[in-house]
């Protein structure tokens, strides 16, 4: 009887030690791994939540901008450019300003370094009075499209009129992203302005 009790005690101790060594300790490692997984998942969940919230915030800011202003931005810097339409616009501006168009041509299109835009060049030549010339410049600057003078030669002809030889550039968005533009560099939008 005494022997059996002793054997039971020894067996109990052995079983306990075996449980600890081969079950409990590995279980601790498993639990630690699961806890790490949970922590990592929760961290990623928080990141995704934060990104979703930030994205929602940006979308709300964009939605707060009036459709007119958004349309103006797209007009100012469109995705595509129709050379014929731009040529006609330039002709209209020249004639509205009171100049006589001598020639309008579409030059090359080039990627602009550092910006996700393509520059489209146009050559314009016209003659007219000085006042018409200043009106032409004013209308070019105030146009809803972005027209920039890259080169401008002004001279006078034998009639005392201004002869304008200009290279004008307009821009469209490029399909390729700019290399040196940081993707997380967002402009803060103030909807009130």
């Amino acid at each position: 009887m005494k022997n059996s009790s002793l054997i039971i005690k020894v067996l109990s101790i052995v079983v306990s030690v075996v449980l600890i060594m081969f079950f409990a300790l590995p279980k601790f490692e498993d639990i630690k791994a699961v806890q790490n997984d949970i922590s990592a998942y929760q961290e990623q969940l928080a990141n995704v939540d934060r990104i979703n919230a930030q994205l929602t915030s940006y979308v709300n800011e964009i939605n707060a901008i009036s459709v007119t202003d958004q349309s103006a931005l797209v007009t100012f810097l469109p995705d595509d450019m129709d050379p014929i339409a731009v040529t006609r616009t330039l002709q209209n501006i020249i004639q509205t300003a009171g100049l006589r168009p001598q020639g309008i041509g579409h030059d090359d299109s080039l990627e602009v370094e550092g910006l996700p835009v393509v520059a489209h060049g146009f050559s314009v030549s016209a003659t007219g009075s000085y006042d018409a010339m200043t009106e032409f410049f004013a209308q070019i600057e105030q146009n809803e499209y972005l027209f920039e003078f890259v080169a401008l030669d002004l001279s006078a002809n034998e009639n005392g009129e201004v002869v304008i030889e200009a290279k004008i550039t307009t821009y469209t968005m490029s399909d390729a992203p700019a290399e040196n533009q940081e993707s997380n560099d967002f402009i803060e939008i103030d909807p009130l302005n």
Partner: protein
């Protein structure tokens, strides 16, 4: 050995009673300890299994939440925001360097001596930060050229001011000049080419104030610049500390 007497007056003690008691007391304690250890091990193992099951369910729940949250992410919204940001950034960058030609000409006219006449002017923007100006001007006397040089060199809105190709003509000393003089054409005896840079920050287009009024009295196309006397030109020269 003598036989043990059973009728001795000395009470017989129970020699092993104490030892037996000691053995009986130590055995249950050990049993309790062993049982307690064994039971605690079993309970701890069960608790570990239960805790792991709980953690596993929590992990599953977190995984599901992450998947659902990730699914709620809208790539269309992201694309829209990125496109809008790229367009707005590019437009802001382009607009920040958008110059007003009228303002440039006005600034140049305001910095031009009244004795100077422009016969031609070229503006170019090889660098988006600088507007390069080349102007061919003529005047009656070289003092006006000196005055003009001082005006431009002392104007902070102009940089890299260079005067080149100075030409002096003396009417009547050549056949061509004599012929022009006979025809009554107005010949400016001094001509020079002026090169200068205008930082675009000083001639940026301002929607609030442009278009701006242009003073056409210095209109180079009509040649209507007011001619001043030599003394006035010299006064202008004196004002700039030659």
């Amino acid at each position: 050995m003598p036989p043990q007497s059973s009728n001795s007056f000395i009470p017989k003690s129970k020699p092993n009673a104490k030892d037996r008691t000691t053995k009986k007391r130590s055995s249950p304690l050990l049993s309790v300890l062993v049982s307690g250890f064994f039971g605690a091990t079993i309970i701890a193992s069960v608790a570990l299994v239960a805790y792991e099951w709980y953690l596993q369910s929590q992990l599953n729940q977190t995984t599901v939440e992450l998947a659902e949250t990730a699914e709620s992410f809208s790539e269309a919204d992201l694309s829209r925001v990125l496109d809008f940001n790229a367009r707005l950034t590019a437009a802001a960058e382009l607009f920040s360097k958008h110059i007003s030609i009228n303002r440039s000409l006005t600034q140049l006219a305001q910095s031009t001596a009244s004795t100077i006449q422009f016969s031609g002017i070229s503006l170019s923007r090889e660098d988006r930060d600088v507007l390069s100006v080349t102007a061919d001007v003529s005047t009656q006397d070289i003092g006006s050229v000196i005055a003009q040089r001082n005006i431009l060199e002392n104007n902070a809105n102009f940089t890299r001011v260079t005067f080149a190709d100075l030409q002096l003509a003396f009417p009547g000393e050549s056949d061509a000049d004599s012929e022009s003089a006979n025809q009554g054409a107005e010949v400016e005896p001094v001509s020079v080419s002026i090169e200068l840079d205008v930082p675009v920050d000083s001639v940026l287009y301002d929607p609030a104030s442009d278009p701006i009024a242009i003073d056409t009295t210095d209109d180079f196309t009509t040649g209507s610049s007011t001619q001043v006397s030599d003394s006035e030109a010299l006064n202008a020269v004196d004002n700039f500390d030659i």
